[in-house]
Structures are given as structure tokens and as C-alpha cells.
Amino acid sequence: MRRIISVLLENESGALARVVGLFAQRGYNIESLTVAPTNDKTLSRMTITTDVVNTATLEQMMKQLHKLVDVLRVSELTQTEHVERELLLIKVRTVNTEAREEVKRTCDIYRGQIVDITQTLYTIQLTGAGSKLDAFIATINDAGEIVEVVRSGVCGIARGDKALRG
């Protein structure tokens, strides 16, 4: 089962390596990981998506994360109402006007933005849940030739009053 774990940790050298090392060492899987400083520059916020076989593994994973000296807070987003977003940057080659129009149309339907353009290439920016990005990539593949794909990995936040604070 897919799970999203939010981690608030000290923004110090080595902290990221400890988290990644923990996952490697204990045989946990990381599907994606994003990390950046928060409004408080001494803290980093990390979002990890993982696939766990059962809740016992998830519980152990969260306890192990919390055990790291650098880690302040750990929470699991998927069990409550939450918002998750991922950023996609994709470069598509088009061969003729018809293809260019199709790419533009697809982009509009998905509410993507074209952020760079050359005679034959479109670079498109799209945000959304991972499944939306998957669908967009599949669709755009019919309109043009995909040259390059970059995805940020998932960022997540709980809805409502819940907050992960220092």
C-alpha cells in the first residue's frame, strides 16, 4: 500500500543522508523523496512516498524515522484528508503544425503551462497528483515525441487544522 510520510527535521549537513541510509539499511522502499528548507531556515520538510506491505512495517518505519536524532516530527498523510502535489516538466518534440496544436490542446485540458518553446520543442509545466501526471504523459505521447521528463516527487500537506510544526 502506498503511503506518504511527512518529516520535519533539522536543516543540518548529514540529516538527509541519515534518512536515506535508514531506508536502505532496513530494506524500506522509497518511491519518491522531496526535501527543502521551510520558512524557518533551520528546519527542513521532507515528503517520502513509500510502498509498505502492512501497517506494522509502516509503524516501525515511522518509529525508526522518529528515532533519528535530527528528526522533530513524523506524520503519515494518506490516512487523513490531505493535499498532494507533484511538479512535472516535460519536453516534447513536434513534427508539424497539427502536432503542435494537439500538444497545446492537451496541455490546456490538463491545465498545464508551456514554459519554453523552440521551432520544434515545447517544454510544459504541470502540477497535480501523480496519477494526473501519468495520464498527461500517456496522452502527450500520442501528440508528440517525449524528449525528456522531470518529476519532483510528491509534496504533501494535511487539510484543515492539522500541521507539522517545530
Binding site: L9, E10, S13, G14, A17, R18, G21, Q25, A56, E59, Q60, K63, Q64, H66, K67, V69, D70, V71, L72, G166
Partner: protein, 574 residues
């Protein structure tokens, strides 16, 4: 404010932390620190012959005293040689601070001479680590390191010290922090009140309870509480390998060690219990045997200061996060307050059952006219030392025999590498204990495989006159490996035989120690008596034991706790 260099700050911070002994080995990137040590009269440094031994010495020093052990080594190989020692301490939750030199900051990443990413190499086996990039960071890093190492679930902490940061020419204001707090690190000590209440109810209601006490009770100094609780409710107590000594080994309520080489009565009591109360023990695979078949009728209560230990291997029905000492005291207070008691009749019936299992006398063994049995050696050691020695051990058959046949009276008396199973631990461990307690008898029980893994430390013993007794159970083979090969590999003894065991008597004499060879049972006791009378010399007793002896009981793989081989010809009913 006093002005000090980085190197001087290291030494002063250790002094201000109250460190009296440090174990280490100099080299290029820590020369400035060594120069500062030379000029300090407060810290005694022990120069080892291999860095791994320095870590084991500091580790055992910590196990014996409860203080934090401290190690100083140079960069590169000096640091990486420490890894086995650090992993050993990590597995057994021993507080250590390991200071390792590093190439100057402006060379880091350039593959400079003796450059190793010590922070990276040690990461999976440390509780935490620090890299000091300026001299001003040193006092706070050291303060935090000792705080983290010694609190919560203790463990080793590494501090990496680049050479330029130590530079004796650059002086900075020095002040050692009085206290430290970390917003991301706050170990829980006392148990949740509701859980304490539920635990007391469950414990007093249980008809077949077992107190399963591990190394956490020793680390937490909880022996008094364990004894009080056990006696108040007449509970049977079993210890893990790491927990031996937390409950008096000769107490009538002690049912022996449990697990792979545990007693018949301990393993059967566990299997048939209706309540298992784990105190600072972690349901290790060497305890549980097959987790699917683990104690089918037991409710599990578990105190541990480390939440990750709870429900990791065995689901806890009643988890309590906290220090064993504090939580047990909370429970005792509640029992006192509510006058809670258990049903003496059902506990009596439980004891009748346990005593029936006890009557099997699973540790009985046959003596031989031609060979000395390892069990005899440990029993003789117990007799000669009156059970008062600090016993360290290496890893293998001799370790199990020592654990089974030397009933430890008190905590911190049995010093062994339980989690990591590190051969080569015993001798440096004995040295660390002797440095901590020069007036107590300290003996290293070892095997001919293990002793040769750190035998170079006989030289360190000579330099500092550290008069430990080495008791070698010599079976000319890697006994535990051989036992498994005989039992499970069709007797094919692949590389478990030592074809050229040295003359240990001559070897000891080469280091100016006393070597005694024991070939017959009659020679054993006089040799041991002499060894402990010679209080200012290292005595190495090489005892030729029966090479065919196996360690029993032994749990049957994939079975439950109660499935055991009891001898070469006997096993419990399937």
C-alpha cells in the same frame, strides 16, 4: 575568557565532561590533540595495539561502570579499524564517544592521504555523529555527543575532527556548556499512567507470568526494582544473555537464561506463560526461535525506552515506553498504594509446574576420565572467585558455557558482546574493566579462535600492567562452528579446525606474562587459585578441553521456544 586552540578544546572539554580514561592510537591527523593530551595531567590515555581493541576497552569500561567510554583515533585506517568496535557497542546500546581525526577541511573530498568519510562509514552503526568544521563548534559538539550517547537508549557517537580545526596556532574563547538541550531529541523516561495501571492489573491477574529481563534493565540500573517486583509477586525471572546479573543468578526465583541456549525451565515457562513481561529486552531472534510459534497463549507486556524495540519482532499487547527503572518504580508505587496482590494459589501451581521442569536438570553433564569438560572449567572459576569476578567473554561455545554455569550475582559483572557477537571482544573488554576496577578480579573467558583476534593487546597489558586473568577454553577448533557443522552439515568441518594453535604459554611469556598449561582436571583449580593470587601479573591459563563437547540445551531451528535439543541424543517431543 580563556583562549584555547581546537586541539586544546578537545582535551579540556573531555576533562570538563569528567573523563578520566581514554583509549586510542595517535596518527597524523590527531597529533595536535595528542600534544594537548601530553600536557594534560587529568586524562589517562591507554595506547592500544589496534584501534578495534581501543573501542572494546572503552565499551567494556562503560559496561562495567555505567560511565561513557571514550576513544581517540586518527583518520582513515585508524577510524575504520574502529567500526567493528562501534558496531558492537551499537548493538548492545553502550554509550561511547569516538573522536576520529580527519584530513584538513580544505582537502576533504580530494582523496587526500588517509582520508575516509568516517561519518559516512560509521553512519549505520552510530546513534549520531558530528563533524566539526570550526574550532568554536568543538565544545558544544562534545557536550551534545556525551548527552546523546548516555541518554535514552544509549549508543556510540562519532565526532570527526579535521586537522586544521585543531590547529594549535589559532586560539578561540573557550567555555564548556553547562547543559544542552535538543529540540529534536527528548527521550521518554516515565511510563504513561494509564498503561502503568493496566500493567499492574494484568500482572496481578496473570496465573502463569514470566518476567523476561534484558540488558535494558542493567543499562537503566533497574535491578533493585526488578528484584522487588519479582519478590513481591513471587514471579519467575529469566534473563537474556545481555540481562544476566540484573537478577541474582542464585536466587530461587531465577529460572536461568532463555533462548537458543537457554535452560529447559526458562524456555518452557516462556512457552506456557499466560503473561510475558519484557523489561528492557527486545525479543531478539536468539530468544524467540520461530516468531510464528512464539508463546501461543501469552499476553505480551513490554517496557522499553526505545519505541522501535516495541512490537518490532513480537507484537506487544501492552506497550510502555520508558526507562525500566522509572516504569517499574511507578508500578511498585501503584502496587503499594492499591495493595494489589496476585492469587498465591495459582502462582503456587505455576511454580509447581516450573519446578517440575527444573527437576530435569538440563545443565547436568557427564564428566570424563580423559578430558576436561568446559562446564567444569567455568564451575571451578566460579568456586575460586566465589562468584565475585567480573567475567568478560569472547564469542562462541565458551561464551554460552560461561553464561550458563557462572551465576552472576549483580549487574555489570558479565561483560560480553551479545548483539553483534564480536570475536576478539573479550581480552580488551577485560582490560577496560580492570582499568575501571583495579582491585576487583577480572577474568576473560575465551576460546582459541576468539583470543587470536585481538591477542596483540597482551602487549598493551604489559605496557600498563593491567593484570587480567585469561582463561582459555582450548578445543583446537572453532567450537560453535564445528557444533553446527556436526549437527546440520553432515559433519563436514569446513575450516573450523585450527591446525596451528600457538603455544600460548610461550606467547604469554614473550610478553612477560605468566602462562599456565592445564591438561588434567587436577591441575585446573590450583592454576586458577594461583592466577587470582598473583594480583599484579597477567596470567594466561590455557586449558585443554574436550573438543567434542557441544552446548546444550539448544533450540531446534524453526521450532517454538520449547523445542530443544537436550544432548547429542535427546530432544524435546515435537
Amino acid at each position: 575568557m580563556e583562549m584555547l586552540s581546537g586541539a586544546e578544546m578537545v582535551v579540556r572539554s573531555l576533562q570538563d565532561e569528567g573523563i578520566e580514561h581514554i583509549f586510542g592510537y595517535p596518527g597524523g591527523s590527531v597529533l595536535d590533540i595528542y600534544d594537548a593530551i601530553f600536557q594534560s595531567d587529568k586524562i589517562e590515555h591507554y595506547l592500544v595495539r589496534h584501534e578495534q581493541a581501543a573501542v572494546h576497552m572503552a565499551d567494556a569500561y562503560s559496561r562495567a561502570t555505567g560511565k561513557v567510554g571514550c576513544v581517540l583515533v586518527t583518520a582513515g585506517p585508524g577510524a575504520t579499524n574502529c567500526i567493528t568496535g562501534i558496531a558492537t557497542a551499537y548493538m548492545d546500546s553502550i554509550p561511547l564517544v569516538v573522536l576520529s581525526g580527519q584530513v584538513p577541511t580544505f582537502w576533504i573530498g580530494d582523496d587526500a592521504f588517509q582520508e575516509t568519510d568516517m561519518i559516512g562509514v560509521s553512519r549505520p552503526v552510530v546513534k549520531h555523529s558530528f563533524s566539526c568544521r570550526t574550532a568554536q563548534e568543538i565544545p558544544i559538539a562534545i557536550k551534545k555527543a556525551f548527552y546523546i550517547a548516555s541518554t535514552g537508549r544509549p549508543g556510540p557517537v562519532v565526532i570527526d575532527l579535521p586537522k586544521d580545526v585543531q590547529n594549535p596556532l589559532n586560539k578561540f574563547p573557550y567555555e564548556y556548556p553547562k547543559s544542552v538541550s535538543l529540540r529534536s531529541y527528548n527521550p521518554t523516561l516515565s511510563g504513561h499512567k494509564g498503561q502503568i495501571k493496566r500493567a499492574v492489573t494484568a500482572l496481578t491477574k496473570a496465573k502463569k507470568p514470566v518476567l523476561y529481563v534484558g540488558g535494558g534493565a542493567i543499562i537503566a540500573n533497574a535491578s533493585k526494582q526488578v528484584l522487588e517486583l519479582a519478590e513481591k509477586l513471587n514471579l519467575p525471572v529469566t534473563n537474556t544473555l545481555m540481562g544476566l546479573g540484573s537478577f541474582p543468578g542464585e536466587h530461587k526465583q531465577f529460572i536461568g537464561m532463555l533462548g537458543m541456549h537457554g535452560t529447559y525451565e526458562a524456555n518452557l515457562s516462556m512457552h506456557n506463560a499466560d503473561l510475558i513481561f519484557a523489561c528492557g529486552a527486545r525479543f531478539d531472534d536468539r530468544v524467540t526461535n520461530n516468531v510464528e510459534k512464539f508463546c501461543p497463549n501469552a499476553k505480551i507486556m513490554h517496557i522499553d525506552i526505545d519505541p522501535t524495540s516495541i512490537s518490532k519482532n513480537i507484537h506487544a499487547d501492552l506497550p510502555i515506553v520508558g526507562s525500566v527503572e522509572v516504569v517499574l518504580q511507578q508500578m511498585l508505587d501503584l502496587i503499594e498504594e492499591t495493595k494489589a496482590t496476585n492469587d498465591s494459589k495459582s502462582i503456587g501451581a505455576w511454580w509447581d509446574q516450573i519446578n517440575e521442569w527444573r527437576a530435569k536438570d538440563c545443565l547436568a553433564y557427564k564428566t570424563s576420565a580423559t578430558h576436561i569438560k568446559p562446564q567444569q572449567v567455568i564451575q571451578c572459576l566460579y568456586k575460586v572467585t566465589k562468584g565475585d569476578a567480573i567475567v568478560t567473554s569472547d564469542v562462541g561455545q565458551h561464551q554460552m558455557v560461561a553464561a550458563q554455569y557462572y551465576p552472576f550475582k549483580e549487574p555489570r559483572q558479565w561483560i560480553n558482546s551479545g548483539g553483534a557477537g564480536t570475536m576478539g571482544f573479550g581480552l580488551p573488554a577485560a582490560m577496560g574493566c580492570k582499568i575501571a576496577f583495579p582491585d576487583r578480579p577480572v577474568v576473560c573467558v575465551t576460546g582459541d579462535g576468539s583470543i587470536q583476534m585481538n591477542i596483540q593487546e597482551l602487549s598493551t597489558c604489559m605496557q600498563y600492567n593491567i593484570p587480567v586473568v585469561i582463561l582459555l577454553l582450548n578445543n583446537r577448533s572453532l567450537g560453535m562452528v564445528k557444533q553446527w557443522q556436526k549437527m546440520f552439515y553432515g559433519g563436514r568441518q569446513s575450516h573450523s579446525y585450527m591446525d596451528s594453535v600457538p603455544d600460548f604459554v610461550k606467547l604469554s611469556e614473550a610478553y612477560n606474562h605468566i602462562g599456565i598449561k592445564v591438561d588434567t582436571i587436577d591441575e585446573l583449580e590450583p592454576a586458577l587459585v594461583r592466577a587470582f593470587e598473583l594480583k599484579d601479573r597477567v596470567v594466561f591459563i590455557d586449558v585443554a578441553i574436550d573438543p567434542e563437547e557441544h552446548v546444550y540445551p539448544m533450540q531446534i531451528k524453526f521450532g517454538s521456544m520449547q523445542d530443544m535439543y537436550l544432548s547429542k541424543t535427546e530432544q524435546t517431543d515435537a
